[in-house]
């Protein structure tokens, strides 16, 4: 199938899913009525549901999904491992510690996000420093990240041990990934920052192609260590922002690039935009599924993506064994 047609179908499917997601929820609002509801003014309940609750949440899912996917794509190139995930370098562990501490001290949503972001950055900086000492190889980064994650999970559990039960519950909910607290102001700003970072990543698309082949290879072609560091930070920031605002939503950064690579090839000039779109749609769909499966209960998006991701890779392993690209 020609690439052009693939892209068209892909975009069409994305739009269709978007419309479906806006309609779905604990109260089904038919897509054909949406324009009239929106123009009808702020009085009706359905308007408030759409404008105050659903649309910001969907927008958040789009932005977070895109950010996580792009982060995954970049990490997979920098770490030269198609199974690397944006949380590999300690992003989620650091955020978890920051958020858990903030929640245990019953801080506001914004402070929780801030501390989560701070925690992320500390963890990433640490991993970076450790691996830099050892020459910034992909393996060093991964190992440092794993070691730190284990340490940090223990830290989270330690905070749990001394917290009130409801705070533990809240922290667990946060860890599962929660998009329901979306607000326009935050989402819009996050979108701007993510767009900038993704744009930067896109400018580096040729570097990313080259880095995937090895450090010495990349060096020989003129990709400096500074470039690799920039890319590392672009990916880390995208992930840190996502985690601090939406909690730990796993597999988006792993599954989506995988599928996109299969559909559109490894060239990053296609991989980056396609993964952004794919991730956006994937998370939006997962969140919507969480909203409609067992109303009125809301299954956190992170749980849906966890199941989907796990199943996906299980099927992949069964069908293809070790050859996963």
């Amino acid at each position: 199938m020609k690439t052009g047609i693939k892209i068209l179908l892909f975009t069409a499917a994305a739009c269709g899913i978007f419309v479906l997601c806006v309609s779905a929820g604990s109260v089904f609002i038919s897509p054909f009525r949406i324009p009239e509801i929106l123009s009808g003014g702020a009085g009706s309940v359905e308007y408030r549901i759409l404008v105050d609750l659903r649309i910001p949440r969907i927008l958040m899912a789009l932005v977070v999904g895109a950010s996580l996917s792009v982060s995954g794509v970049v990490f997979q190139a920098v770490l030269k491992n198609p199974l690397a995930d944006p949380y590999t370098t300690g992003v989620s562990g650091g955020a978890a510690v920051g958020a858990t501490v903030a929640i245990a001290f019953s801080m506001s949503y914004f402070l929780v996000a801030l501390l989560a972001f701070g925690g992320s950055l500390c963890a990433v900086s640490f991993v970076y420093a450790v691996s830099r000492y050892r020459g910034l190889s992909g393996t060093a980064l991964v190992l440092a990240g794993i070691a730190l994650s284990v340490l940090l999970s223990s830290a989270v559990l330690l905070v749990f041990a001394f917290s009130r039960a409801d705070y533990v519950h809240k922290a667990l909910l946060w860890l599962m990934g929660d998009l329901s607290i979306a607000k326009y102001a935050v989402v819009m700003r996050m979108a701007v920052v993510s767009l900038l970072l993704t744009g930067l990543g896109f400018l580096y698309r040729r570097h990313l192609n080259i880095i995937s082949f090895g450090d010495e290879f990349a060096h020989g072609l003129g990709v400096s260590r500074g470039d690799i560091v920039n890319l590392f930070w672009i990916a880390s920031l995208l992930a840190a922002i996502s985690v601090s605002l939406a909690g730990v939503i796993g597999f988006v950064g792993l599954l989506v690039p995988h599928v996109i690579r299969f559909m559109f090839g490894p060239d990053h000039s296609r991989l980056i935009p396609a993964s952004a779109l794919g991730g956006a749609v994937f998370l939006m769909g997962a969140d919507t599924l969480g909203r409609v499966l067992v109303p009125p209960y809301d299954i956190p998006a992170g749980i849906i993506t966890g199941f989907a991701g796990g199943l996906f890779f299980l099927v992949l392993v069964i069908r293809k064994g070790g050859a996963y690209t």
Binding site: S26, V27, V45, D52, L53, S106, A185, N230, R291, D298
Partner: protein
């Protein structure tokens, strides 16, 4: 010496991202004054119970999944931890009530943002605070007089039920593995104090601390109470063959009913005090008979 651009740019970008996204926390608290309240959604089982107690059960348009027994089936709007704002909106309530204790978990700001009139009730740390919240609910739903009357009656009942002389030392557990106890400053601790018990677990700032078995053996209370079933067997095995707990030796380990401890209402508080006071009285009597 070439400037290491990446060492400078990364933190700058991070700081910029921080500033862009996290500053400018919008709207403060908007206080709404509900009028002619007819439909109420309660996001706290205790509040639900109190509304029923005030005789206003028909006003309840929505409750959380964990709720007290009710006469008619009322729509569930989600769990205490995660209420579904869309569902609440679609029920068209005049008022949404929630407890400050749950608000953090529930992200109560979303309710206001969605245009609902949401009012938070203060924390319930002791009987006085429970009464204050009860009166507040009564006022909000237009049952002020009924509320006042009920509260003065509850106060009288508590004065009767309350035991002022301290009878024996008590440890109360809300979990066995790990051992989680109710300290003096906690809500359960207040009930114990009003029942005439001296709590061996002092107030250290943590309401429900995790204890070690050693600590328990060291403080050696006269009575051990627990909300978990099979308390007697559990603490017996805990003290083992070594010289152990006075309470297990004398058979003064009891599982208490958590039916009343689960709700923060005046009626439940008094019922709990009565139950435990009676228990402690029995213990002291048994002790006297033995000696």
């Amino acid at each position: 010496m070439r400037i290491q651009w990446h060492a400078v740019i990364a933190p700058l970008v991070a700081a910029a991202a921080l500033i862009i996204i996290y500053t400018g926390d919008d709207d403060g608290e908007q206080v709404c004054v509900p009028r002619n309240v007819r439909r109420v959604v309660s996001l706290s089982p205790s509040v639900t119970r109190e509304i029923i107690d005030l005789g206003a059960e028909e006003m309840l348009a929505g409750v959380t999944s964990y709720h007290p027994p009710m006469k008619k089936k009322v729509p569930v709007v989600g769990t205490i931890l995660h209420p579904n704002v869309e569902t609440i909106l679609s029920l068209g309530p005049d008022l949404v009530l929630y407890s400050e204790e749950d608000s953090a978990v529930q992200h109560a700001e979303r309710l206001a943002a969605a245009g609902l009139c949401a009012v938070s009730l203060g924390r319930n740390r002791n009987f006085e605070e429970i009464c204050a919240n009860y009166l507040r609910i009564a006022e909000l739903i237009g049952a002020r007089d009924a509320g006042r009357e009920k509260i003065s009656r509850y106060r009288a009942l508590l004065n009767v039920a309350r035991v002022t002389e301290k009878r024996c030392t008590v440890a109360v557990f809300i979990a066995h593995t790990p051992l989680v106890a109710a300290s003096e400053g906690s809500f359960v601790g207040e009930i114990i104090a009003d029942s005439g018990g001296i709590n061996v677990v002092k107030d250290t700032g943590i309401g429900y601390p995790i204890l070690s078995a050693e600590f328990l053996i060291a403080v050696n209370p006269d009575v051990i109470l627990s909300i978990m079933p099979g308390a007697a067997e559990f603490f017996l095995s805990l003290s083992g063959s070594a010289p152990g707990l006075r309470a297990t030796e004398k058979g003064q380990v009891y599982t208490i009913n958590e039916r009343h401890l689960a709700y923060y209402t005046p009626g439940d508080y008094i019922a709990a005090v009565r139950e435990i006071a009676a228990l402690l009285k029995k213990v002291v009597k048994q002790d006297e008979n033995r000696n």
